[in-house]
Amino acid sequence: MAQPISMTVNGEERTVRAEPQTPLLYVLRNDLGLAGPKFGCGLGQCGACTVHLDGTAIRSCATPVASAQDARVTTLEGLARNGALHAVQQAFIEEQAAQCGYCISGWIMTAAALLEANPSVSEDDIRRGLSGLKCRCGTHLAILRAVKLAASRMAAQRRA
């Protein structure tokens, strides 16, 4: 049975009525009108649907909406703070790290969570942290440059 589920989405309190097992992705997209997370596979294999659940990058296509009850959900729309883009977003623009861009939410949200946890990462850490995400157009090289750039800036900021 559909039931009310409350969560904080991009800083706003939201309550939706949904079957508890409904994948979070469809609620974010169809009930809350968000477009950042995308349907890519519905199997948790590609990452296009990635959002942050209490700061952790998760695949919303394989996460029941019930598990977001009382949690903080951040989508690509909510990653910027006070009008300033996240360092990862800024670096993606500077490195022009997109072709069709349909997968971009997965890369940015996963990289942001990775670097928020620890920006002092090696290139190998970044590759491992992003491994498994799909980009069919083949934007990997630009994405790697962008995440390295964001990491160096975030690490410098933490040291300062």
Binding site: E19, T22, P23, Y26, R29, N30, D31, L32, G33, L34, A35, G36, K38, F39, G40, C41, G42, L43, Q45, C46, A48, T75, L76, E77, A80, L85, Q89, F92, I93, Q96, A97, A98, Q99, C100, G101, Y102, C103, I104, S105, I108, R127, R128, L130, S131, G132, L133, K134, C135, R136, C137, G138, T139, H140, L141, A142, I143, L144
Partner: protein, 755 residues
């Protein structure tokens, strides 16, 4: 629910807002009628639209707002390579306006000229000159209007940033917005147009950031998957569990939550529900009894390749025939022969096909994400039984597009479901359809033969290709039979074409021949193995055979692979990319595979080159192979690329890099698996693609031929062509044996080492 805006809005608009400029909205001119900003102005079905937007009229291409904003329209689409930004550069340059003032509208059949959409890397190549001519006409017309207004001759005027100024008295000036703002030109585009001298270019040819990247990064870009229409329902399709299965029965009384309708027409079967997850669940749970026909496909790749080698050709064609090849082979001091095999490949676009259709009131509007909305309009009209004027297809950016993927099929399905329920329906395919049911790149087998004289000169060269046409499922959905629904309904014929497989190169040998045999594959048309265009149709296949063989012949003759190419390539620009790639990569000549060692790893370098319709590309790959496992990494690519004048070098570099990665993925990992009755590659596990762990450490790109005044040629896919052969040749150098079947798997590498 917040409305998701349904038309693409260029980031230029954000720039307008930032700089305090007016937001460009629809002002009723044909070119910009597709630019809408809210659901309130969504078009509704039932209206009539012209059968075609007249390409002779300047108003079909260009509109200028009273604020000086410029809206240009093209019948091409953005497939993710930044073509929209390049079009804006062309318009801004020719019209002399700041780049950020230009918005590009693409692919709306009601408002943009039918240029048949994008395909074959022809966006800038074919679309650029037409748009440029229109912008030049705009400039000429505006200058003439200014001369009248300012009462001076035209040649007394100069133009700066959309303002026409009297050269001798700069206080006398009038802006484009004042001259024509929000009004129609009512002039024809002159042919040939009076164009700006390319040596004066300041905007075209400059590396500029793409318009579409920032909106993508900020989740403001609107894809077809994001289109929302009031009252919209959700549909999903149910596919036969095996090829050619027929519906025996459907359990219509299951009580599926949210179900609006089970839509069945023959073996075409879909569900429409209130909510998306309900449609997914209903499609999964609906009980359908299917017939179990006999096998349709060969049992596996060995069986497929044997069938291709031995089967009867339905069509045979030769080209590039010089001398008597068989006689020259017979007389050769030494003969070299090799066979190459290339599998079915999937587009496996990042998102499966998606479309929204609103059919009712005697008309239809379809929001579609494919590459060719104009032919699709005809097919939709045909399958719905509507007059063409009552159908409008509005292109929206798709989730990755590399030819004829599942986007058009989805649009036709959505139209049929919407017609059945009389409400707007959004269909997004599931992953098993995106990978398992998209039209496939065709497989091919090749027999390559060469003859050498006693001194090692090549005297004969023969390429024999055997495979299925890549246009069984045509490139463009012109008629209902071209779509999957049309085939499953079974009452429509497709516009299938024979497309023969010839490697493109200018090797000059005393005797030479290319023969292509196409085998009948019509039985696949209603199945998941129907063949169609995948990025650079037949290019990776033919180049893999031809350029792998070039290395085999070079080594047989005791010649370095680069030297071999420079000796036999006739075309000057083709030679130039080979030379440039070799030089930039630090190529070390070698007349035999080196099996060089770096610790426990074997190191190899390979080159391959390919023209593609005038564009020239050469790629050098460097690989490191673990001889105990056959696993390998491509450590570095070097690319030399000549596509003539480059409108946006920044976009080109991104496009080249992405082509390298996608083509590397196809060469290393990709083959559609199947058994005798169905396709088994249905997700990212069963159809693996390249991973971030495999991205090369370095890519070097050399651009040649980028001169103002040079014609701009295609760049969207030529780099794809030689990548597989370059990797195979690098493996050959590393392990000392050729690997002749794609994908170049570790198992194949090990097997080649042991052979």
């Amino acid at each position: 629910m917040r409305d998701l805006v349904v038309t693409q809005r260029g980031p230029t608009r954000r720039e307008f807002l930032k700089t305090g400029g007016a937001l460009l909205v629809s002002f009723g001119l044909p070119g910009c009628a597709g630019v809408e900003t809210s659901a309130a102005s969504l078009p509704a079905p039932g209206a009539s639209w012209p059968a075609k937007v007249d390409p002779a009229e300047l108003d079909s291409w260009l509109a200028i707002g009273s604020d000086g904003s410029v809206c240009a329209s093209v019948g091409k689409i953005e497939a993710g390579m930044g073509i929209g930004t390049s079009f804006a550069q062309i318009v801004a340059e020719e019209l002399d306006v700041p780049l950020e003032r230009v918005t590009i509208v693409m692919g709306d059949t009601a408002t943009t000229v039918d240029q048949r959409g994008t395909g074959g890397s022809n966006g800038i190549w074919h679309g650029g000159p037409e748009l440029r001519a229109a912008a030049a006409q705009g400039r000429a017309t505006l200058t003439a209007l200014a001369a009248q207004r300012l009462a001076v001759p035209v040649d007394a005027l100069r133009i700066e940033e959309g303002v026409v100024i009297v050269a001798a008295d700069p206080s006398k000036r009038v802006s484009y917005g004042e001259l024509i703002g929000d009004r129609r030109f009512h002039v024809k585009v002159a042919h040939p147009p009076k164009l700006k001298d390319p040596r004066e270019y300041r905007i075209a040819g400059r590396p500029v950031p793409r318009f579409d990247i920032a909106p993508k990064v900020e989740a403001k870009y609107r894809y077809v998957a994001d289109v929302r229409v009031p009252g919209m329902l959700h549909g999903r399709m149910i596919r036969p569990p095996q090829a050619h299965a027929k519906i025996v029965g459907v359990d219509e009384g299951q009580g599926l939550p949210g179900l609006v309708r089970i839509v069945r027409k023959g073996d075409f079967l879909g569900v429409v529900c209130e909510r998306e997850e309900q449609a997914i669940e209903a499609a999964r749970r609906l009980k359908v009894e299917w017939s179990t026909p006999a096998q349709t496909f060969p049992a596996d790749y060995d069986a497929l390749y044997a069938a291709l080698r031995e089967g009867r050709a339905a069509s045979t064609k030769s080209e590039d025939v010089h001398g008597d090849v068989e006689a020259a082979l017979g007389a050769a001091a030494r003969r070299v022969e090799a066979r190459y095999e290339y599998p079915f490949q999937s587009h496996a676009s990042m998102g499966p096909g998606c479309a929204v259709a609103d059919v009712g009131n005697g008309g239809a509007i379809v929001w579609a994400g494919g590459q060719k909305p104009y032919p699709l309009r005809h097919a939709v009209a045909g399958i719905l039984g509507l007059p063409l004027e009552k159908v409008r297809v509005i292109w929206q950016p798709g989730p990755g597009s590399y030819g004829m993927n599942d986007a058009d099929d989805c649009a036709v399905d959505a139209a049929l479901l919407s017609q059945a329920v009389g409400r707007p329906v959004r269909v997004q395919y599931m992953r098993h359809e995106g990978t398992g049911w998209d039209p496939k790149g065709p497989p091919a087998v090749f027999r390559m033969r060469a003859g050498l004289d006693a001194s090692g000169n090549v005297t004969a060269w023969d390429c024999e290709a055997r495979g299925f046409s890549g246009q069984l499922r045509p490139s463009g959905t012109d008629v209902p039979g071209d779509s999957l629904a049309g085939q499953i309904l079974g009452t429509f014929q497709p516009n299938s074409k024979d497309e023969h497989k010839f490697p493109e190169e200018s090797y000059a040998f005393p005797a030479k021949r290319k023969v292509s045999h196409l085998l009948d594959w019509k039985r696949s048309l209603a199945t998941a193995l129907r063949t169609a265009h995948v990025r650079d149709p037949d290019g990776p296949q033919t180049c893999f055979a031809s350029e792998s063989f070039a290395d085999e012949v070079a080594y047989a003759a005791g010649i370095d692979p680069v030297e071999f190419r420079l000796r036999y390539i006739a075309d000057q620009r083709e030679r130039a990319v080979v030379e440039a790639a070799a030089r930039k990569s630090g190529w070390q000549p070698h007349a035999a595979p080196r099996r060089a060692r770096d610790g426990n790893l074997l190191v190899g370098h390979g080159i391959a080159h390919a023209p593609r319709h005038g564009t020239m590309v050469a790629v050098v790959a460097e690989v490191r192979v673990d001889p105990s496992t056959g696993r390998y990494r491509v450590r570095r690519f070097t690319v030399a690329h000549d596509c003539g004048f480059v409108v946006n070098p920044r976009s080109l570099e991104g496009t080249i890099e992405a082509n390298l990665m996608q083509a590397m993925s196809r060469a290393m990992h990709e083959e559609v698996r199947f058994d005798a009755t169905r396709v088994l590659s249905v997700d990212w596990i069963s159809y693996p693609i390249v991973d971030m762990m495999e991205a090369p450490e370095a890519v070097d790109i050399v651009i040649l031929g980028n001169e103002p005044g040079a014609k701009s040629l295609g760049a969207g896919e030529p780099t794809t062509r030689p990548v597989g052969a370059a990797i195979a040749n690098a493996l050959h150098d590393a392990i000392g044996a050729p690997v002749r079947r794609i994908p170049l798997t570790p198992q194949a590498v090990l097997a080649a080492m042991k052979a």
